[in-house]
Symmetry: D2
Subunit: 347 residues, 4 copies
C-alpha cells in the first residue's frame, strides 16, 4: 500500500532519529534552556539573515498559530485570513478560543491573500462597533498547494505597513514552498513580523520554529508559550531536531524531494488528460479522477478526498513527503494509466 | 431637525419615566431580587404562554447576546448566523471574545437564515478539526428590516431539532416584528430555546428581557450574568420598565407606532418612484436616494448612510421610533417630493 | 422599616431624576457621542486636574473593573489585590473570565494593600512558569470600610514605579473616601494610571466614570468597552447623571452625608460599648452585636450579616447612603440602647 | 556531574527509543487514529480496571490540565486546589487563561487537600456573586513529594459526591506515587472522575494519558483537545510510548527505581543528621543543608533551590528519575558526609 494521505504519516528522517538516540542520556536543562535549542536557534538566525530574531520551538502547528496570535494581539484585534486558511477552518476555532475573530476573505487563486483583499478587509471595519483587523495570516504553501513568491509577500508587506498591520506566515509546509519558487528564508526574514518554519511535515517527529522579527512582539513570549501549554519539558528534543534540519541543507533537500515527486505525479496525470481542482506547484496536488479509476486504485493507494466537483468525479488530495519513494509515484501513474485504458470514456 | 437616525435617540416613554420617579425612594433589594422584577417576569411569562420560563433582565443587547451565548455553549461549539447578523458584525467580536466562533452564512432575502442555510453550515463542519455548530442566532426584525414569520421560525425549529441545535432569537427590535406579521410572543415561547424582548429600542431607557425556555439552559444563568458584568445593582430599574411595557399593551403599541410611521415613509417614497436596497416591512427602511436630493434634505433631517449602490445614489437607513412624530414623516416626504421636482432626471 | 442594607437601595438623587426627565426627548447621538457625556467628561477632567485624561462612562462596577483590566493587561499579566478585594471575591471570577489571575494578598488593616504586600506579590513570581503581576488593584473605600490617604497611595505609586506596575483604583465608594480623609480627586489624578468615580453607590441610578491617565492605556479603549458589553446605547443617560454629580459639589455632598450618618451610628454604638469587627471611618460600619439585641431590631431595620465572630455575637454591616435619613440613625441607636438595657450582660 | 535537578533531564527509556525507531516508517493515520494509540488505550483501560474509560494522549502536563479543566467546567465554575498545586503556581495562569478561577487552599501536610479543606472552600462560596467551586484538583505525588493513599482519595471522593464536585488527579508523578503507597491505578479508576498517567517524568520522551471515567465528561473531548493545541499530528508517537510503558510493568519499575534511589538519599541524609523541609516518601526530597556543605558539592552535583528556611541553610530539591544511577546516590551521600566532617558544627 502506498500512502499519499499526507506528509505526516511517517516518523522522522533517520538522521533525526539518530541524533535523538545519540543524545538520549546527555542530561539537559528543561524548557528550552539547553545548548541544542541555542544552537538550532543560531542556525535559523543565520539562515534567515536576522541575527536579531527571537526563535522559539513549539510542538505543533495549531499550538504555534494560537500562541503567536494570542501573544501578538490585543482583545479587540482580529486576524485577516483567506477563508480556506488553516486558522479559519481546521483548528476547531482555536483562534476564537483566544478571543480573536478571524476575518475570512474569499481567497484568490492558489488560496492566497492579495493586497486588495487585505485592504477590503480593513475597509469593511469602520469603527469601534467592529473588530479591528490587525494581523494578516498567510500560509506558505497554502492549504490548496499555492505558493507565495517574494514579490507577492513584499506587496502584502507594503499594504501592511500602510494600514498598520502585522504580517504573520504559517510555514507548516515552508519546505515545499522553498522548493517551488516561494520566497526564500532570507526574504521571509525581511518581510514578516513573525513566521514559523514547519518541522512536523518535513522530516521531524514534531516541531515548529517560530521566528519573531518585530521587536514589539518579542517581550514575554515565553510566558504565553507556557500559559498556552506549548512549552515542552524536554525542550532539547526540539532543538536537536532543528539542528539536524538546519544543517547541511537537510530541510531544503527534504522539501525538494517531496515537491519533485508530487510534481512528477502532477505532470504524469496531466499527460494522461487528468484535470485539477487547484493548480499546485508544491508537494500536494488535487487531481480530479473518475470514480471508476479511483475504485481500481483503492487498496493499493491511500489518499484523502477533497471534493466532489461533478457526479462520478472526485477530487483527491495526493501528498508526497520526505519519505515518499519514487516507486510509489511510478506505481500510481501506471495504475491510473491502466485504469483509464479500461475506461477510455471516463475522463 | 427631524431624526430618523435610529430608534434609540430619545429617553423613555413618559409612563416609564413616571414609574421610575414614583418608585425612586421605595428601597428595594438589589440585583433583581425585588418585586418589580418578579412582577415583570410574571407578566412576560404570561404573555409568552410559558409559565415555566426563566426570565432575566439585562441592560443592553450586546451584553445579552454575549451572556446567553457564553452561558449556553461549550468551548468548541459555534454560532450559526447570517453574515449580516448583529453578532457577526456589530459587536466588536464579543462572541469570539467568549471563545466561540460565529459561522457566518450569506443571508437569504430580508437578512434571514433558512433551514437550508443552517443545514449547509452544519454539513460544512465534519469533524473535530472544526468547530461544532450548535446555536442558531436569528434576529427579529433582522438588521436589514426583515421579519421572520411563525412559519419560518417553525421551519428553523424543525431543522434545529433534527440537527441537535439550539434556536436563539435576538429581539432587539421585536416590537416592530410583532407589528408587521412576525411570530407572536406566544409563538416565540413555543419555538425558541431562548430569546430576548428588547426594551432599549422600544420605549425603555434601557433593558432587555431574556426568556429561557429550554430547561437545560437554565441552571446557574445568574452566575454568568454576574461574571459578564450584566447584573445591574439597582435591578428593579429594569423590572419597573418592563412592568410598564408589558402592561396595557404598551410594548405592542409602541412597536405599531414606529412600524406604521416607517411604512408610511416607505409607501410615500415608493409612490415617488424611489427604490429600496432592502425590502422592509418594519420600522427601519432603506431607500436609495439621489445625492442631489439628500443634499437638499441635510440639516433638516438626520439619517445614517448604509451603502452607495451606484455613483450619485446613496442608500440611507430611516428608522422610526416610539417617539417619532407624524409631522416628521410628512415633512420628509414633502421634502423629497420637492427635491425631486427640482431634479426630475435624478431617479 | 429603616434600611442599612447597602448604598444602592434607592433610585437616584432628585436632581438627577429631574435632569433625566428634562432631557428625555432631546434626541441625542448614541454610544456616548453626545454633548452631555462631553460636558460631564470635561467637568471630571477639571475636577481631577488632568485635562489630558480620557473619560469613559460605564453602567456598573464589575463591568468597569473587568473592562479596564481586560483592556490594560496582556494575557500572562496578573492583578495584585487584597484577598478581600472586590475583584477577588465578589465578581464571580469576572477577572479570571478575561483570562487574568488575581494574586490575592492577605490585606493589611482596613482591607488595604501596602507597598510591602505589593513587593511580596511581585517577588513571589520569579519566572515565566508563573504569571507576571502587573496591575495593583485598590478600592477606596475598601470592602471593609477602610480609606487610603494620599500618602498611602503615593507610597503605592512609588513601589509601582519601581517594579513596573500599573496602579488602578476602584472608586465604587469614592464619595465616602473623599468625605473621610481619603486622597482627593486631584491626588487620584496624580497617582493612578486609571481609576473610576462611582456613581451607582452615590446618588446615580447607575454609572461609573473611568479616568485613564496613563497614555499607554488609552488607545482603543472604546473597542474593548463595546466588546465587553459596556457601551450603553443611550449613553447620554450616563453623561446627564455625571453632569449633575459633578456640578455644585453634589457628588461630594452626598458622600459627606452618607459618611456623616454612618459615623454617627458608629460613635453612638461605641458609646454603648459595642465593638467593631473592622475599624471604618466611612459610610459602612461593622459592629458586633449580641444576637439578643439583633432579634429585637429585626423587622424595624434591615442589614446584612458579615460574620459570626463568636457564638451569640454577629457582625452586621450597616451602610448609609445619600438617601439615609437622620431619623433612621437616631431610631437605630435608640433601639440598640433599649435592647441592651433589657440585656445588660449581653455585651 | 550528577544531576538531581528533576526527573525530565534525560530522553526516553531505551525500550521506548527502540520502539520509536522500529516503527518509524510504518505509515500511520494521524491525530491518534492509529493502532498504537488504540492498543495503548486498551492496556490502560485494563490496568485501571475500567473498560469503559475514554483514554486520550497529550504531550505535556500543563496542556493536559488546561485541556481537561477547560473541557469539564462551565464558565463560572472554579477549581479547588492546594495553594502549592501546580495549576495554582506553575502554569503561568493557564487555568485562568481558560476563564476559570483557582480557589487556592492552604495545603495540609504533604501538600495535600483534605475533605475539610474542600468543604471549607465550598462553604466560602455562597452565592452567584462568587465563583462556584466544581472541580477538586489533586496531584499524586504532590508538588512537595506527598502521596495520597487510596483511603485519602476515597475520603475526597466522598466529600465530592456530597457536594456535587468532580475529582481530577494530576498524575505527572504517578509512577512514584504507585511506588510508595499511593492509591493504585485500579483505585484511581474507581475514585476519580478523570486523571492522567504521566509519561514525561517517568521514561517517555513526552506524553500524558488522560483517563476520563465520568460519562458526562466524555463528549466532544477531542474537539477541545484540538482547539487547545493538544492534538499531536503524529499521534502514534504517544501510543507507542505508552505501549512500552504499560507493558511488562515498565511504568511501575521505573517509578520504583526513581523512588527507591530518592529514599536511599533521604535515609542516608537523615542518618547524617540532616533535616527536611517537607516529609516525602517519593522520588523528590527536600533536605535542608548548610551552605558550607552545598558550596563543596557544587560542580559535582546539580539540584534546584526550594527555599532558604534560615540564614546559612538552604532547602534543596533532589529528584531521582528512571535514569538516575546508584553511583550518583552513593557519591552524593559520600560527598555530604565528607563535607559535614570538615564542618562538624554546621548542622
Amino acid at each position: 500500500m502506498y500512502r499519499f494521505t499526507n506528509d505526516y504519516s511517517e516518523g522522522a528522517h533517520p538522521s533525526i532519529l539518530k541524533a535523538l538516540a545519540d543524545t538520549n542520556l546527555e542530561g539537559n536543562l528543561g524548557y528550552g534552556y539547553d545548548p541544542h535549542c541555542e544552537h538550532a536557534a543560531a542556525l535559523i538566525r543565520c539562515k534567515i539573515g536576522r541575527p536579531d530574531a527571537d526563535v522559539h520551538f513549539l510542538v505543533g502547528g495549531t499550538q504555534t498559530n494560537t500562541t503567536c496570535i494570542c501573544a501578538f494581539l490585543r482583545p479587540h484585534e482580529a486576524v485577516i485570513a483567506a477563508s480556506s486558511g488553516h486558522v479559519c477552518v481546521h483548528e476547531t476555532g482555536a483562534i476564537e478560543a483566544t478571543g480573536h475573530k478571524c476575518v475570512a476573505m474569499p481567497a484568490a487563486a492558489g488560496g492566497k491573500l492579495t493586497p486588495e483583499l487585505v485592504r477590503a478587509a480593513v475597509e469593511a471595519h469602520t469603527d469601534e462597533h467592529m473588530v479591528k483587523p490587525r494581523l494578516v495570516y498567510v500560509s506558505n504553501t497554502t492549504e490548496t498547494g499555492g505558493v507565495y513568491t517574494a514579490a507577492e509577500l513584499r506587496a502584502l508587506r507594503s499594504v501592511c505597513d500602510e494600514l498598520g498591520l502585522l504580517l504573520y506566515l504559517d510555514g507548516a509546509r515552508l519546505a515545499s514552498a522553498l522548493a517551488c519558487g516561494g520566497a526564500s528564508m532570507e526574504e521571509l526574514g525581511e518581510v514578516c513580523d513573525a513566521f514559523y518554519i514547519g518541522g512536523t511535515k518535513n522530516g521531524a517527529l514534531f516541531g515548529e520554529a517560530v521566528c519573531i522579527l518585530n521587536p514589539a512582539l518579542k517581550p514575554d513570549f515565553r510566558y504565553i508559550l507556557k500559559q498556552r501549554g506549548g512549552m515542552l519539558a524536554k525542550g532539547w528534543l526540539l532543538g536537536i531536531q532543528f539542528e539536524q534540519l538546519m544543517q547541511n541543507c537537510l530541510y531544503e533537500e527534504l522539501g525538494e524531494h517531496s515537491t519533485r515527486l508530487a510534481q512528477q505525479l502532477s505532470a504524469g496525470l496531466a499527460a494522461l488528460g487528468v484535470e485539477f481542482l487547484f493548480d499546485s506547484p508544491s508537494n500536494q496536488i488535487f487531481p480530479i479522477l473518475p470514480d471508476e479509476v479511483l475504485a481500481k486504485l483503492e487498496g493499493a493507494f491511500h489518499w484523502e478526498v477533497t471534493a466532489v466537483p461533478a457526479p462520478g468525479r472526485t477530487c483527491v488530495r495526493l501528498v508526497c513527503s520526505w519519505a515518499t519513494e519514487q516507486a510509489a509515484v511510478t506505481a500510481f501513474l501506471l495504475a491510473v494509466e491502466g485504469a483509464l485504458k479500461d475506461c477510455p470514456a471516463c475522463l
